[in-house]
Every structure is written in C-alpha cells, then in structure tokens.
C-alpha cells in the first residue's frame, strides 16, 4: 500500500512538473517576440499578409486558449511537420531514438562496473596511494569538456592510430523492425569511441560516489564485526560493503542515464552518430522549429520519467524511503 501511494504521489508530481515547464516555455517563447515573424518574410509581407498569417496560426486567440490548443496537440503527440524532412516531428524523433539508447546503454555498461570498482578499491584504503590517484584523476575526468574529450578520442583512436572509425554508425541489423548497431561487429566497432566519450565522466562520478559510500560503510559496526569474525577483506568488500552502497549508486546511474540523453547532443554531433542529439543540433541550425520543440520536449519528458522511476526503484529497494513518505 505504502508503495502505491509513493508511486501515485511521484506520478502526480511529475505531471505537475511537466505542466509547469510547458507553461514557462510557452510564456517564454511568447515574451520574446511575435512568432508570426518567424513564419512570414518581414521584408515582403504586407500588413494584410501578417494579419492573415496571425489568424491562420491561431495567434489572434487569447493566450490561454493558445496554450490549451498547444497542450491538446502535444498530448496527441502532434508537434507539427518538420520543415526539412516533411515528416511528423515526433515520429522523426522516435526513429532516431534506438541509436541514442543503445549508445547510452553501452556507455553505462562500461561506466557502472568500472566506476563502482574504482570507488570500492579507493574507499577501502582511504588516503592510500590508489585513493589519492583516483580522487585526483576523477577531478580531471570531470573537468574535460565532453566535446574536446570526443575530439581527442577521434585524434588518438582514429586519426593517429587508425584503430577505430572516426564517426558514423557502421553496419546495423534489423531486430523488431528497428536498426541496431550493437549486434554487428562493425557497428560495435563504431560504437567504442563515442561510448567511451560518454562513459569517462560517468566513471569518475560513480567512482567518487561509491568511494564515499565505501568509507562510510566500512566504518560501521557490522563491518568491524565481519572483520572480527575473520572474513577475508575481499569477501567483506563484495558481499557486505557493495550491497550496502548499491542504492545510491543505482540512483546515480538512473539519473546519469538521463544526463547522457542530454550529453548525447554533444557526443553524437561530433561522432556524427545519427541519434536524437544530432537531430536536435541539426534542427536548431536548420531552424526546423517543430523538430526542435519535439526533441526538447521528448528529452525533458524522458528525463522526468526516468527521475520518477529512479525514485520508485529507490523506495522498492530501501524500506526507509518508503516509511519516511
């Protein structure tokens, strides 16, 4: 029962959040200037043209009616038609989604075990040489701008050594009527550099979190008891410490997965990976407004949904969270 109420509460909160965001976005766009001037040619249009365009676009209606109309369209998934590709904007975004998802999944599959492992080892001997090295390199890893990291990966991994391709998605196979790169050798080969670019900052982030968790858990009574019982340090670390720090790590993995959707914008446009992020940047540069709106809305909704899911998962794993609410 408690779990259901948490779920319902979280759901209504997310819906409210999205509604608030759409209101702010809507007012923001309207406060910047009359959108009619994005449609008509300012130099050649007569006042009559502008008036007709205003009526045709529904811009003569009061702002709350425009908002209701906009909301109605969004709920039906109708963001309009792309000016460039002449396809429904949302369908276009969805068609690019598998590429982004598989890239983010591979990056997280690399980052989560690597980060947790480094954090555990560093936290076990706080202040040790490995710990100092890990802490220092984590600050460096978090400081590298992701676009420069991607470019340097291309320079090292593709141009100087020629080991990996510098961009593109490679061969794909069709499963469930969607194209996947991860299932072919060539596709996987194309994926290594962009996945690394997404993974490296996350390894550092997860490592820092699991390090501080390990330090906290290792100072608790039950680890001392385990040690007194004569368990090997390795067994304590993996059978007792790891499960106890796994909840915050799961949380950060969920949150960072959403962050990857946002950072994919940078990494995808550098590696010309045909995903949602590259679509966003291309559409911004081509002034393809419906696609920009659809993409930004989609990423925001995905992120908020992911957040809600992570919170729920947290409540399932940790009874304390369930009881507190």
């Amino acid at each position: 029962m408690a779990l259901i109420s948490v779920a319902l509460g979280r759901l209504s909160q997310s819906v409210l959040l999205l509604l608030a965001m759409s209101v702010i976005g809507f007012i923001g766009i309207h406060s910047i200037g009359n959108p009619v001037f994005n449609i008509v040619n300012i130099e050649t249009a007569t006042p009559d043209d502008i008036h007709r365009a205003t009526v045709a676009l529904g811009l003569d209606q009061p702002i709350w009616r425009q908002y209701v109309l906009f909301l109605d369209n969004v709920i039906q998934g109708n963001f309009g038609t792309s000016y460039i590709y002449h396809q429904p904007a949302l369908a276009l975004v969805m068609s690019k989604l598998p590429a982004t998802l598989e890239l983010a999944c591979v990056a997280m599959l690399v980052a989560a075990p690597a980060g947790t492992g480094v954090g555990l080892l560093a936290g076990r001997r706080k202040g040790g040489l490995f710990d100092c090295a890990a802490l220092r390199s984590s600050v460096f890893a978090l400081s590298i701008p992701s676009f420069w990291l991607s470019m340097m990966l291309i320079l090292l991994g593709a141009i100087l050594t020629g080991w990996f391709p510098s961009g593109g998605r490679g061969a794909t196979t069709s499963v469930l009527r969607l194209e996947w790169s991860v299932l072919t050798r060539d596709g996987l080969w194309h994926m290594i550099l962009p996945a690394l670019a997404l993974a490296i900052p996350n390894i550092a982030l997860i490592a820092r979190l699991s390090r501080s968790g390990t330090i906290e858990v290792e100072s608790l009574d039950f680890t001392r008891f385990c040690r007194a019982k004569g368990l090997s340090p390795r067994r304590i670390l993996f059978r007792h410490t790891l499960p106890n720090i796994s909840v915050p790590i799961m949380t950060i993995i969920g949150l960072q997965f959403g962050g990857m959707l946002a950072f994919a914008v940078v990494v995808e446009s550098i590696f010309s990976w045909p995903g949602v992020g590259k679509l966003l940047i291309d559409s911004i540069q081509l002034l393809d407004r419906p696609v920009v709106m659809a993409t930004l809305t989609f990423i925001s909704v995905a992120f908020v949904a992911l957040n809600a899911f992570v919170d729920l998962f947290h409540a399932v794993l940790d009874p304390r969270v369930r009881l507190a609410s």
Binding site: G28, I144, M152, I154, L155, S212, F263, V292, I299
Partner: protein, 291 residues
C-alpha cells in the same frame, strides 16, 4: 616504511594559500588581462590576418614578423592569439554569469525563507523544476529560446545556474530566521528590505560562497559547449570553445593543432578552477570534509 611514508604524505599540510591550481588560475587571469599587449596578433582584426597562411603547422614563420608558435587556424589566425583573446571572453562570460546567478539565487533563496507561505512555494517549485533537469539541457532550452549572442549566453547561463544557489541559501536562511537577532530586528520594526539585505543575507551567505568557484568552472564548460555547438558566441569573436569547434573540421585531415591547443588551455582552466573549488569547499564546509 611504506606506512610511514604514507602518513607523512597524508598529513594535511598547514593551509597553504598558494596551490599549483591557484597559481595556474592567476596566470590565466593575468594572460587574459594582458592579451592585447602580449598577443602577437589581434585575431578580431582582419587586417592583421594573412589568409594564405591558413592552417600553418606550429612553428611556421609568419608574414607578420613573428613565429606561429602553435600554428594558425583555418582562417589564418594565430592560435596563441586566439587562445589569449578567447580566454578573455570565456572568463568574462563565466564570471559575470556566476556572479549574477549567485546574486539572484541568494536573494531568491533568502526571500523564500523569510516570506514563507506562497512566496516560498512559488520560488522553490521553480527551483526544484530546474534542478530536476540536467544543467546542459536547461542551458540548451534557454539559448534556443533566446537566440545567439554573448549577452544571451550570459543570460542562459544565469538561468541555468541560479537555482543551485537559491536552494542552498534557503536552507541556511531557514535556520537563521529562527534566531533571536532576527526577532530583535523585527521587533525594532526595521524595514523589510533592511532585514533581508543587511541581516539575513550576510548571515546566510557563507555556504553559498563556497559554491561560486565550482559554478564558475561549470559556467566555463557550459559556455564552451554551447559555443562548440554553434549556439554561443558569434564566430568572428571566438571564445575558447568556438576556437576548438573551428578546428573540428580540420581535425579529420590531420591538422590537430587548431583544436588540440585551445582545448588544452580550456581543460587546464576548468581543471584548476575545479581543484580550487573542491579545496575551498573542503576547507569551509565541514560536512563535505569526510567525503
């Protein structure tokens, strides 16, 4: 022996004022200030640029009577000068936006705590809304709505960053409002603005100050990322990020220096700000000391 060595290494040295990172930041600021004097070329002045010397590798002698130490970019601009001038834009944008964001965020957070009720709810809902999205996404949405330009990018960074300060300032101010000096101020019937800005704000400011260096680092990275994506500063006045971006198309043909060196400068700047930021936070905020 090893344990002995580790203990010596780990013993926290007496608080030094000058760490290598601070020295590096100071150097960066000095270089940015002195850019017009020490840069061999003004990369914004087309008359000083020789287009036929575009994409010269590092160490080429230029027609301007100086050596292209780090080479030239695709338009013939000297990379050293581009870095020096780009540094100015990056620093001005990030410091201005961090300072204004801190000011707005602190005021909003403290007001939320002081006025309570609907003001608190309204401000904090907005803050929660923003902090639930990644900063880069907020900045992207803001810049897409606002359009390109240096003033717009500063505004977008302020929008992306104020919420962090607001949340911290509110939590501190909440505990301050219950203290007796606040009761005294209210009983003396001081004007609200005086209570807010002369009593509550100065007493709740300390923890938020520790955020500033970290947020300046974020701002540098965000500005560079937006500029890289072509959404930031205009192309004829490149920041560090857009200089790196200009080099991207040449990277694939092996002209690595256009993006390597400005990127290295950017990385050094962000890393040293982050090191200092972490140091400041560890020293001033006892909660993060154990972590």
């Amino acid at each position: 022996m090893k344990a002995e060595l580790l203990r010596v290494l780990n013993k926290r040295p007496p608080p030094r004022m000058l760490t290598p990172s601070m020295l590096l930041i100071a150097t960066y600021i000095l270089l940015a200030l002195a850019a017009p004097v020490i840069a061999p070329q003004n990369p914004y002045d087309p008359l000083q640029i020789y287009a036929w010397e575009a994409s010269s590798p590092p160490g080429t002698a230029g027609s301007g009577g100086f050596l292209y130490l780090l080479g030239t970019d695709g338009l013939g601009r000297d990379i050293v000068s581009c870095i020096l001038y780009g540094l100015r834009i990056s620093l001005v944008v990030s410091i201005t936006s961090a300072a204004i964001a801190a000011l707005i965020g602190l005021t909003a957070g403290v007001s939320a705590a002081y006025f309570g009720k609907w003001a608190d709810v309204a401000i904090m809902r907005l803050v929660d809304l923003q902090l639930s999205l990644p900063t880069i996404l907020v900045a992207l949405i803001a810049i897409v709505t606002l359009g390109p330009g240096i003033d717009r990018i500063i505004l977008a960074l302020i929008i992306a960053q104020w919420a962090t300060y607001a949340r911290l300032a509110r939590s501190v101010a909440l505990s301050e409002t219950r203290k007796s000096y606040m009761d005294a101020a209210r009983l003396m019937r001081l004007p609200t603005s005086r209570i807010l800005f002369r009593h509550l704000l100065p007493n709740s400011i300390a923890p938020a100050i520790t955020l500033i260096p970290i947020e300046v680092g974020h701002a540098v990275a965000l500005e560079a990322t937006l500029s890289f994506l072509g959404l930031g500063v205009p192309i004829d006045k490149p920041s560090l990020g857009s200089t790196v971006a200009n080099g991207f198309q040449y990277l694939l043909t092996g002209q690595y220096w256009i993006s390597l060196f400005p990127g290295l400068a950017l990385f050094g700047l962000i890393a040293s700000i982050n090191f200092v930021g972490e140091d400041v936070r560890r020293r001033l905020d006892p909660r993060s000391r154990s972590v």
